[in-house]
Amino acid sequence: MLKKRKLNIIGTPVPKHDGKIRVSGQAVYGHDINLTGMLYGAILRTEHPSAIIEKIDISEALKLEGVECIITADDIDVNNISYKRDHPILKKGEVNCIRDEIAAVAATSKEVAQNAIKLIRVEYKIRKGIYDPIEALEESSPQINKFISGKYKNKNTAEVFKYSHGNIEEEKKKSIVNVSRRFTLPRVTHACMGTSNITAHFDKLSGKLVLYSSTQVPFLYQRDMAHALKMNPSDIRIIQPVIGGGFGSKLDMYPFEPICALLSIKTGKPVQIIYSRQEEFIASPTRQPMIIDIACGADKDGNFTYRDIKIIKDNGAYTSWGATTPFVIMQAFSSLYQVKACKFEATAVYTNNVFAGSFRGYGNPQATFALERIIDLLADKLKISKAEIRLKNANYKNEITGQGLHYETCGHIECLEKVISESNFYNKKNTENGRFRKGIGLASMLHVGGGAKIYRSDGCGTTLKIDPYGYCTIITGSNEIGQGSETVLAMIASEELGIELSKIKVINTDTDIKPWDVGVHASRTSFVAGNSLLGAINILKDKLNNKAKQLLNTENSDFIYQNGMIAIENANEALALDKVVREMHFSEPSELAIASYFYEPLSQFQNKEFKGNVSGTYAFASQAIEVKVDTYTGNIEITNVHTAQDVGKVLNPLLLDGQIHGGILQGIGYAISEEMIYEEGKLLNPNFHNYKLLTASDVPNIHFYPIETNDKQGPYGAKGVGEAPLIPTAAAIANAVCDALDIEVLELPLTPERVLKAINFKK
């Protein structure tokens, strides 16, 4: 007899569904692909960030045995890439940043390809580059990117975002304290352990192109690739091998990808390009660096009154998603904590630096850093506690913010209260005066938790099938990039259909097979793909129920699915699921045990003023971080991280922990150690020796408190979780360091040199 019970699988620590292949060396990453007759591609990049190309001579390289093809801009008929179409795939006539592609080679071995690259002679006329966005805005500066439409008056302006709500002048009058600062945020990079890679295989006979690509957004990528190559999107098939880390880096298509396709089209052979680590540092996108001018006020009761923000973003020489981070940034400024008036302007400016892409958090760590630093300064001026001022202004359930975000559930207050009490915040006053100083800092964050409606669709499709042996196949539009989405989907199917996890397969790597999905971003996958799967399950269950009713001769369709069986609760008779499927297939009226469903979140497009409820739900998190600073060396030790996050509902505590820990470590890196150092547009530290990722020894104690607010929009109440953990981390650390040392922090990362400088400045 089957009995109804509460959730069985959801909420339990199920290990990764595809764990075995990943611990045994069997997972096939892009780096492991080896097709018959495959050639190796390599790219020649410029030596100078800003120069005229006077001559390219490939004749010596062509003589090398094993070289099958060399292309330059003159050999290809393509469109520019990037959403602004301002980025040529191979550069012609001039180069504008150090990652610029000039030529590409396909050869029979990696060695030959590299040697051929060295034999290509390029004559440059070096120009003075512009590496400071503020300088680029000056009238006298030359135009850097020649492909833009001239939408803006200033010739180096790539993009401007403006937003406002409330009456800022009125609110200024009501304010008894005002604080303004300029914050400068650095350029950091994803540093995925697996470097960028692609294998392209063009079949001359069919005219079809297969790309083994680690994109996070296969369907957008297919369309972008088709536009670049002037092909029909449906003639391009994207197959996603296992990805060695994403974090947003694979949200856009970059020149090396159509270059590889072109080499394959020209040679008619498969071609593979894999970045070296140095190339990965130089040529993969970065987090968006910013200069943030912010002015804020509060009234006599400590209520936030206004925020006035002007941001300059270094767009680099071309545009990628970094330019659009204001979509997210303005949410933090308009809607994190209650604020009556907000004015926001962000300008992306072309320079001769490298471009910024999307990176976990999408501008939010930068915005949150500026905002949460200012909140501490406001509290100091008001002489009220840093915890109190946050609690007083925290977001609340059912709030509709000035921007129109509707918090149907909201764990902000609970998150704050939790980390304040667990960290013993009120009693942790910095009293020590010796060499080591301790401090504690608070910060919160708001992020979309149910997708983000920024493309025409924020949807995800699922096709679900049960075979005559009771195994289930989930064909999902969504992607696994290590975050564990396959596991969560398998858990949902297991929960709902009563099929054991080992009998569930997830198919998600082939655009020829899987239904549409917009891709992995905006912490959307569990939410959107989960809801999509639940929709398909409901349809399939209707079909199964009908057959079961017929077989059991009953009108009751209140079936329970458990242990591979279907039955009415407490009934004596139960049917094996596989038998029901066989009956569906083989007895009249016959039908397949297959269902498809397309889920589109109930979110809205924002209007021209960027107002509207853009996500299905919103995630909140607060962190209280304790640090110990060595005032002799400037070293910061992160001792304890208390983090509370409104996750809606914990779907899998084991995978959730992984997202939290990984995010926080990236946040700590952003705060204290990671920085790409450029001199005149050239990267000085393109290696792990000088670009400091944290190691196992740097791990602090992380105390994680999930807050469950059960959002009815989410699958089982869950919200997106992936980006949140790193967003408030740098802000909380900076606040803690200021608490410990009583200094100003205006830029990141807080390297020992910067800390010492700030201490000396104070003296």
């Binding site: 290990p15 990764k16 764990g19 075995k20 990943r22 611990v23 045994s24 060396g25 069997q26 997972a27 096939v28 990453y29 780096h31 492991d32 003589k63 090398l64 045995e65 094993g66 060695e111 030959v112 040697n115 994803h190 540093a191 995925c192 352990m193 697996g194 470097t195 296992v242 990805i243 060695g244 880390g245 994403g246 974090f247 070296s276 680590r277 990039i481 290590g482 975050q483 564990g484 084991l654 995978l655 922990d657 992984g658 939290i660 820990h661 990984g662 995010g663 926080i664 470590l665 990236q666 290696n687 792990f688 020796h689 990722l693 944290l694 190691t695 196992a696 020894s697 791990v699 992380i702």
Partner: protein, 173 residues
């Protein structure tokens, strides 16, 4: 046509995952490339090719080394174990591999082979130290972290990996 200079190859023999291998390698060939490109052992990962990330870690005579810096000729006469060699013939995983899965210590997995081999080498070290000793020595958590410093992971934040290592090295008998 120009030719890239072909340097003379050297005969070497070694044991790879308990199998005898005889082959000719160029004096400049790196073990990582030989393993991946010539012997098809793609479980060993290239993360940086400059000795900084640990993704390419394999065991040579039981000790962890970065195969991206190790000249293949030096493998002559040695025993090499790669991630593939930890899986038993019947498909059972090594207890380190199991602990990594059960503790949620793998996300993208690119660092994982190297991490597992490094944990194996810690285990081997203590096994050799504890040969015929009564009070068996065990590493503490801080020592485990130190051992793993050479293995970078961008996904997990290391905590679950350290948990898995602790489970195998400290808690298991």
């Amino acid at each position: 046509m120009q030719k890239t200079e072909v340097s003379k190859k050297i005969k070497i023999s070694f044991e790879l995952n308990n199998r005898k291998i005889n082959m000719d390698v160029k004096p400049s060939s790196l073990l990582l490339d030989i393993l991946r490109d010539e012997l098809g052992m793609k479980g060993t990962k290239p993360g940086c090719n400059e000795g900084e990330c640990g993704a390419c870690t394999v065991l040579i005579n039981g000790n962890a080394i970065n195969s991206c810096l190790y000249l293949a000729v030096n493998a002559n006469g040695k025993e090499i174990t790669t991630i593939e060699g930890l899986v038993k013939n019947d498909g059972t995983l090594d207890h380190v591999q199991k602990a990594i899965i059960d503790n949620g210590a793998v996300q993208c997995g690119f660092c994982t082979s190297g991490m597992i081999m490094s944990i194996k080498s810690i285990e081997n070290y203590y096994l050799s130290q504890n040969n015929n000793v009564k009070n068996k020595k065990k590493p503490n958590k801080e020592e485990i972290k130190k051992w793993l410093e050479g293995n970078l992971c961008r996904c997990t934040g290391y905590i679950k990996i350290i948990d898995a290592a602790e489970k195998v090295l400290i808690n298991e008998e």
